[in-house]
Symmetry: C5
């Protein structure tokens, strides 16, 4: 029995965890200046209280550097509906009247299982299990269930407490000549593996959370990096750009750079000196 | 008589049904906060009554997740004029003064008949019917009329009551080297058939409504998916992305993700806690 | 004497007629609600009177479907200056204060003469007339003058009274590999001829007005279609998309779909029920 | 001594003259309506006086046709700082409060010297002058000085008094396969020469001013055409589009079409009939 | 031992210095006109004092020519957090209420070390040091530390006091056929070296500061040029565009052109004559 590359199903298995919303927020400083101090203080206190109630491991606030926004709020939630609740809470708050959400990103934590997909597909094909048959699907479901249990902390992570954040969305190229989705799964697995090797060298310095957004937002994936030192974002992304999978098959959206803020800092951040 | 691929007319037959309008709506929460409670309640009640009168199977309301809008209204109608009536009703309502329609999509339910087109074209050519002759046109009209009757519920569907919605527009690529519209109809039919096979595996979980918009809006097709569980949107679209017809010939616009809201929920959705 | 394809001048002759302005207009309903009824009625009446004075065959009003605008005004005029007068009349009107022209298109009715250009160029070359010589230019001027007289109703058409309108701008592709402007004129003439054959099949259902905008606006041509049934726009454009000239060499801008409105309907269209 | 194409320095010599600013201006008619007549008249008179003082040969006003702006102001100046002074004068004027500069273009009159560059480079190479040596640079400086004197009226032109203006920015293509900047200078010179031959046929009807903007604005060149009859813009640009240098190597930005206005017409242009 | 091109790690070493923020600012002249003179004077004085306190070598103000902004503020800082402090200081100032930051760019001074990277990598490979091993990393760290000390004034430069500024962001092309990131490091080093040779000819006239922004903003690099004569920006960038590395592998964003302003000029710049 000849099992060449082409006979493996092309889609790698994935596991999904927390739903994630990035909100880029512009603050209306001119209008804010007109708010009486005591009213402003109450608005800030209420907003901070609301945010604290969400939990700093599930909703975090960052100052964005540059004109793309004054703040970025990041929310990790169990259900898509919870993301909508979080954005509505921001929107409906009194402080929210001074906030314009100028950009956002909807995605879900995704662990791509290229390695185990290729192994499992090959093993099943060798045993003569027909793709997409009941047996095939059951074996996949069992595998995913086992892995989901083992990786639950990676699937449902807390927001890392690191001071700096970097966010960008990306696609895999579907060019007329270079087309990621036309490559055999084994070739994609090889390239992703090499890519992961580079990432591993930065493991101590950068925490990377990959989220999938195919069907939810305009790009296929979101990449959110956390670090205690912002230069490492550049080092990591620049080094990865030479990987074949990035050099040839990556297309990037906008990049957002933020600095972690605690809700206890909010009053000072929004205070306008006379 | 040699009937090679090239001799078949290139355009597949299609049948059209309901006209469809997607409206992405941003709500002006800051202005809304200033409206006296009783006035606001009347506005909401009137809007809900207007929407109810349209019928929940013909006009539905969703919360959009992310900054692309607070709400998405979807309208299915018998005539293009009715779509305009629906949008004007939203626009002219008192609540509409707080709604900015920031995006929209105009299309019409389309059933593509690749399989039967190829069969019919081949059969007619074998019988010597000349393309676009009176006989040719009559036979096509008869076929379409029969199919239209048989498929009327698919052509004029109710809006599925599912909780989650996913909408995106798309084109078929017309690249310098890879050009969908230059492929013989039989090759396109083969690729669409394989594509449909993948879709069929999700039939129980996702309801898919394809609408055509060539000539009406900026893309060639709209895809609207309905499901009770939003992750399945990602699974379906990701798996399909490996189909040749998507990997090579699909170009996508923006993706919109929404959660179904009943008009009875509207008052609570728009209520701003003091 | 060898007259191969390359020796013919590449530019086909064209004849120009009426100047055309498409105005896509967003209406400020929220501000409009605040206008006292009697003031509003006067504004509408004055606007309608101004539009009527322009003549319904020269300036027409449509409701746009979707968020690209509430209305589209289309003006056909003898001179470019007259187009500016028409837009200034709208802008300066009292009702114009509630209208934002969010998009527009400037072009001029164009009849492309591929067929007669090729014939004339070949004939003159055979007779040894040198391209761009005085004789050459005179013969072209004479030909154009004759044709202009014969085609004056097509060059200076009334706005067709049909209920539905479809407008989109387009370019001919100048790709690195597929480049319309590098093809010999005979090859372009052949492709345009085939294209015209498809259009001819829709002659009874769709009135098509081609306008040229090279040098006046962002695309090379505008296409304005008029019909009594909007589905035919999709049928025509979809069928044409398989023509080589469209499949390979057409690039399209935004599509606008409108429904004809009479000035007598304006009061009702703008009336806001209490 | 073998002097093949590749040995010539690739950059053609250029001479620069007047700095040029195009300002596309949207006028706030709704706000303007609220200004008392006498105040409005003073604002207009002051603006006209300011403009007159600049000199109609150095600053000119046009009505733009279409939504890209109500007016276009064009300024020719000796220094970049003078352009900034001109825009600040518009901005700070009382009438300027009703003007939003929605687009602009910064460039400098440029005469490209392909022909003499190739000749000069070849001559110097034949004489063994090393590129970019002191001798090389001196000889170039001398040549440019001589030409600058001879061409001073083309370098520092008055704004032509013609009634119609056409403006668009452009780039030379740097595609993966067709790349203007990778062609030998002799080949570029040949193509530019042919291009110039077409332009010459329109010399009596169109005045063309080429400005360079590499490093100053988003495109590499600006093209400003002046004529007494607007159709000739289309004829010229359409015919040129078939030149190899345009068909293959030109990329165009937005096109702006305007009608010359005198400051004495301004009061009438801005008058709003009751 | 065969050390061909492919065995060298692809990423060149870089050294980073000051963090840099470019802020493009639109000024609301209409609102400003309404501010009482004494209040305006205080606002301007406070803003100037705040800017002066930042230090003219670390924060500088320019008038932008054209509609992309009235002003550009450029900030050089030791830490990313300091950039955010600088932008917040502008935002929170009273004058800031009349300033809209319509564009910005976040980057960090970067010295690319192609030449020494290739040498060092080759030397280490010849000595059998394994890439990314502890020894490898230490040797690199030592090299960088030495160079950082030697080049500290280039890494942490003052803002040059020159009168004119030119800013633009850029990427290296990752095309389907021409892909900078797929070239061997030696080939990239060769092209960068030739590029540098051109730049060197302008050393006396233009001060160039390259900043890296991979991971921080939408492009990979920012280029900021300073000169006492603005025409030289065009000459330099135009000549460089013929370098292989620019002709084939450069993609450019928007270009911004500015004129240096002292804080002492601010009162006059913002004064509106009656």
């Amino acid at each position: 029995m000849d099992l060449n590359a082409k006979t493996l199903p092309p889609m790698p298995l994935t596991m999904e965890g927390s739903w994630v919303l990035h909100q880029m927020i512009r603050f209306d400083w001119a209008a804010w200046r007109g708010v009486p101090t005591d009213v402003a203080e109450t608005m800030v206190a209420n907003f901070a209280a609301m945010f604290d109630k969400m939990g700093s491991d599930k909703s975090a606030l960052f100052s964005l550097v540059g004109h793309k926004g004054d703040f970025m709020a990041v929310h990790f939630r169990l259900r898509l509906d919870d993301l909508n609740d979080a954005e509505v809470a921001v929107t409906k708050s009194a402080l929210g009247d001074f906030m314009e959400v100028v950009h956002s990103y909807v995605s879900v934590v995704e662990l791509g299982l290229y390695e185990s997909s290729v192994k499992l597909y090959q093993a099943m094909l060798e045993r003569g299990v027909e793709p997409h048959s009941e047996d095939w699907n059951k074996e996949i479901a069992d595998t995913l269930e086992r892995q989901r249990a083992a990786m639950s902390t990676r699937l449902f992570p807390d927001i890392p407490p690191a001071r700096y954040i970097c966010f960008y969305p990306m696609d895999r190229r579907r060019g007329e000549h270079k087309n990621w989705y036309m490559l055999p799964i084994q070739e994609r697995q090889r390239q992703m593996h090499e890519h992961g090797m580079v990432g591993r060298r930065y493991a101590g310095e950068v925490r990377q959370i990959i989220t999938g957004s195919t069907g939810f937002d305009n790009w296929e994936w979101g990449v959110t990096l956390f670090a205690e030192e912002p230069l490492v974002f550049k080092k990591l992304i620049y080094e990865m750009r030479f990987d074949e999978v990035s050099a040839m098959y990556a297309e990037f959206g906008e990049f957002f750079t933020g600095i972690r803020r605690q809700t206890s800092e909010l009053a000072a951040l929004l205070a306008i000196a006379e």
